[in-house]
């Protein structure tokens, strides 16, 4: 039997997100935020609704300049701590915030259960690519430590996951979006832009979602989208989308 990726129709490439799809990530950001809150909580009343969302406000304001990733988060935390405390935060506490960043950049990389087996099974029949967003240096470290690099002949670390980014990656593979399926935990970053291009999505939610990623415009009833609870069900979902993609092309 011809393997799917030598055929001219159906799914020819499966993309995988990294953070919170292949390995844990948001847990470490949440731990960092909790520590940040315990620091500023000694200066201000965190129960005040005006303060609660201020870190997110600063982070989103800075995304256009700092981009995603831990270093940008730390700079936003320093800025937010200074603003939230009206400059009363002590230098020793700013030192601790930098330390939070250093710890977050060095967190262990825990691959999620069933991921390796699922990617291995899919890679036997399809080309696979890792498409991960964020800080180049940190993502490279995480990929190396995950022990999954051997599964991916191609790894794309991108600064933003929008239709333009996916279109660029697909152009490098010389493949129409109609033959591409993306697996990830973020409807906003992994599913919405791929569906917009005419591709396919497999959504496996993670227990935690950053507020910024929770905003999206995905139609949950789209026939091009599969909701899958566990990585062990990814191979079956890919095969099901492959059937649909072949049907659509016929």
């Amino acid at each position: 039997m011809a393997t799917p990726h030598t055929r001219d129709t159906g799914i020819g490439l499966v993309g995988f997100d990294g953070d919170d799809t292949l390995w844990k990530s948001e847990d470490y950001y949440r731990a960092a935020e909790t520590e940040f809150e315990s620091i500023v909580g000694r200066y201000i009343d965190l129960a005040d609704p005006r303060t609660l969302g201020h870190l997110l406000t600063v982070q989103r304001r800075n995304l256009k300049i700092f981009g995603y990733g831990v270093k940008g988060m730390v700079l936003s935390m320093i800025e937010a701590a200074i603003e939230m405390t009206d400059r009363r935060v002590e230098v020793r506490d700013i030192e601790r915030i930098v330390e939070i960043g250093r710890d977050t950049l060095q967190h262990p990389v825990d691959v999620l259960g069933g991921v390796r087996e699922a990617v291995e099974e899919i890679a036997r029949d399809y080309h696979v690519v890792l498409i991960t967003k964020g800080d180049l240096f940190h993502q490279e470290r995480k990929i190396a430590q995950s022990g999954l690099a051997d599964l991916f002949p191609r790894i794309e670390i991108v600064s933003e996951k929008d239709p333009g980014t996916y279109a660029r990656v697909l152009a490098e593979f010389d493949l129409p979006a109609s033959r591409f399926a993306m697996v990830g935990n973020s409807l906003r970053s992994d599913v919405e832009p791929v569906l917009a291009l005419g591709g396919w999505g497999i959504h496996t939610p993670y227990a935690l979602t950053w507020a910024h990623e929770a905003e999206h415009g995905v139609d949950a009833d789209s026939p091009r989208l599969r909701e899958v609870a566990h990585p062990r069900d990814w191979p079956q979902a890919v095969r099901a989308l492959d059937q649909l993609a072949r049907g659509a092309a016929a």
Copy 2:
């Protein structure tokens, strides 16, 4: 006449560095450092030789965790300011250091004189690739603003320029190092690792060099290296190396 990149010998690919090769960069880092020094200079005696090198010490200590780029520089500046002043630095000044980072990330992108014409001329006869090191988000912004993106079918933003990185890029082009020439201002990052792989180098020094980049082990007399003062002389240098490469393969 067959274009060089359809031949089987000689130079088949020319790589170009970005910062301080295609566009100004170090000037903005120097300006940031000068501002940093004017801030800490109000707390300590900068003439003291122990203080003078402290920022570089902190930056190099942090490179393994933060990587290259402005955000890492700012975090190192904050850390250094706290250490150098024994925590006496005021919060308002830390705020100013974050502001230095924001300004540096948004500096204008000035393409160096003669660059566009030289790359265009080389690209008529050779495949070209931009290989630039640093923060993904900031480098993408600089490439877009430089107006040079149209000259480069392929752009590689990498976290470190060592032999492993260049070997990976060459593998993607399916080209031996003996057919690759790299153009750049840094002997450490652009020339040394390429010569180590058996490739060719064109070195165009920039007026300013970061101390970290100034350390290298390049043999200035290497026949595989051309010193070129100005971008306008790059095409001729590439042709000269191409001749040598063809001779070596014959």
